[in-house]
């Protein structure tokens, strides 16, 4: 068990002024059997040149409140709109979380469970992944949990880490064909493989001690419990992982989503610091 302080900051700089921006931020660590959020807040700022145009502070210990909500996957979020002209949009989520070291947790939101059994969106497999799965010849003797871990090991061996090859819209199949990708791609491919093995699996967005960036991994449902696997690092999730959101694929728990008016081209910078307290 560890107490972790997190500081997630993101900045989007635009080449042209933005007149209006709508945002949804899903960056609130949920209370689960494995982790407990002590305190957290989200600050949203818009700037023009050196001037701060708007600043909004959301204390998020309480789930209810204006412009806060919980989506169908159980992810909490804050949302809003910036109406002042700005050329930079920043948000910063900070807080304290205690993370346990159990390897699994009980089922939550049972109603939505079936969606994690069916391929969807970015985790839909194509011919390449189907052929790969068939070539793995998983032994039927293994339990679902053993199969998932085996799939993770194989994927780690047969896929390599590479930045700037894929982007947020890359599907599991596309990433597999490219042979390279980041944590999001590892997660989508592992979900696709688990589905083919008949194991419910879901995408997890989160943060990891020492990573510097947001992270993603996978949870698989075996014998009524969710086990968390980190395929990018070929390891079981530890008390260094803070979970932020879950979904069928990355788009369900995207940390920030926005619609803007104006803006020209944009550059996004993310900086994540997770440190043991």
């Amino acid at each position: 068990m560890r107490r972790l302080r997190f500081d997630y900051s993101m900045e989007i700089a635009y080449t042209e002024p933005v007149e209006e921006c709508h945002y949804t931020i899903k960056c609130i660590p949920p209370h689960t059997a494995r982790q407990c959020m002590e305190k957290a807040q989200i600050v949203i700022r818009s700037c023009r040149g050196e001037h701060t145009m708007t600043e909004e502070i959301f204390p998020v210990e309480e789930a209810d409140g204006p412009c806060k909500g919980t989506d169908s996957f159980g992810n909490r979020f804050v949302y809003g709109k910036v109406s002042s002209v700005h050329d930079r949009f920043l948000f910063r989520a900070t807080g304290l979380v205690t993370v346990g070291s159990a390897d699994s947790e009980t089922m939550d939101r049972e109603g939505i469970l079936p969606v994690y059994r069916h391929p969807y969106g970015l985790n839909l497999p194509g011919e390449g992944l189907k052929a790969y799965f068939a070539s793995l010849r998983l032994s039927e003797e293994m339990s679902d949990y053993e199969k998932s871990v085996e799939l993770m090991h194989r994927l780690y061996r047969d896929f390599s880490y590479g930045k700037d090859v894929t982007d947020v819209t890359t599907t599991a199949e596309e990433a597999w064909q490219l042979g390279k990708g980041v944590c999001q791609d590892y997660a989508h491919i592992l979900i696709a493989l688990c589905h083919m093995a008949g194991i419910p699996a879901r995408y997890v967005a989160g943060m990891l001690v020492g990573e510097g960036y947001s992270h993603a991994w996978v949870e698989v449902l075996c014998q009524g419990r969710w086990y968390a696997l980190d395929p990018t690092n070929d390891m079981l999730v530890t008390d260094a992982h803070i979970k932020l959101g879950v979904g069928r694929h990355a788009a369900d728990c995207m940390i920030n989503r926005g619609v803007i008016c104006g803006g020209g081209s944009q550059r996004q910078t993310v900086n994540v610091i997770v440190t043991p307290v």
Partner: protein, 381 residues
Amino acid sequence: MYDLDLLEHTDTVNELLARYGVKFGIYKNNTFKEQLFPFDAIPRVIEKQEFDYLERGLKQRVVALNLFLKDIYSDKKIVKDGVVPEDFIFASSGYLAECERVTPPKDIYSHISGIDLVQSKDKSWYVLEDNLRVPSGASYPMIARELCRRSSPLTFRNIKLEDNRNYAKLLRRAMNHVNVGGHTVILTPGRYNAAYFEHSYLAEQTGAHLVNGSELVVKDDKLYYVTYDGRLERVGAVYRRISDEYLDPMNFNPESVIGIPHIYDVYRKGNVALLNAPGNGIADDKGIYYFVPKMIRYYLGEEPILQNAPTYLPFYEEDMRYVLEHFDTLVLKDVAEAGGYGVVFGSSMTKEQKENFIALLKREPRRFIAQEVIDFWISTF
């Protein structure tokens, strides 16, 4: 004896329909073309007793479909009890996970339903399909009837008929019933939508504001209408004539420019009613159609009053066998398609097409339904 006065006024009615701009738009080869509705003065007469039977059957069907939607987005009892296989729900593009555990005001999902009926040669009625998303069509018979009355008052003096002039009142009542406080508006994607005439006509007839996406804004978990002088006035119900996908770029398709950012977040909190509710696509899916009679028995404990056209699901082995044995007499429909697309007749396929299709059918049995071809009854005098 039928009074022929209306028949003599067919041209007048058609001219009036043109003058009022009663059109429906069609996209063909990437160009948008609006067409007038041709009006035929010879009516299909439905006698009162038969109309009452249809009304009872349609009500029963819509009540069951509404219960199905509530169940699917919450407890899923019908799946757990094995009445509808899980695959037909969660692999369907009509199912929206975003609607899980989101309850619409007064638990109503399908406020306006378009159920397609056909009458076969032996005069029995069948339901061909259900449309519970954004069905169009109510305005056309309304204005046609109005213009018929004007052109041929004699017909309506001499023949006793059930009127459809109360549709606007019923629609208004439905909108008021679910309104959570504030204005009622009809949301249109605009002038270039196929059914724009209908949007404006229904707004006029019900007294609701006709608005486009840019006239509605979200603020502090509520939805507002921006007035001419820039004030914000609360909106409690939106009869939206845009599909789920385009409703809210922050929750659905981010490319949408006709939607209202965060309107779905307001809806999720129960602060506005949306007619029809998002997520209804799962109930009018062609694969689900097969299960509607079972739904009626399951939720209402009643026998269905209206029948489906005889339908087979190749997903079930027994049905697959039937479909293969009677392939030439059946029509096959792709469940993911709508509006007449993805429909093929077994009898019109070449040998090779047939072989290919059967191979596809065996590979993806869930993707298709098969139906007996129904010969329509054509009204004659």
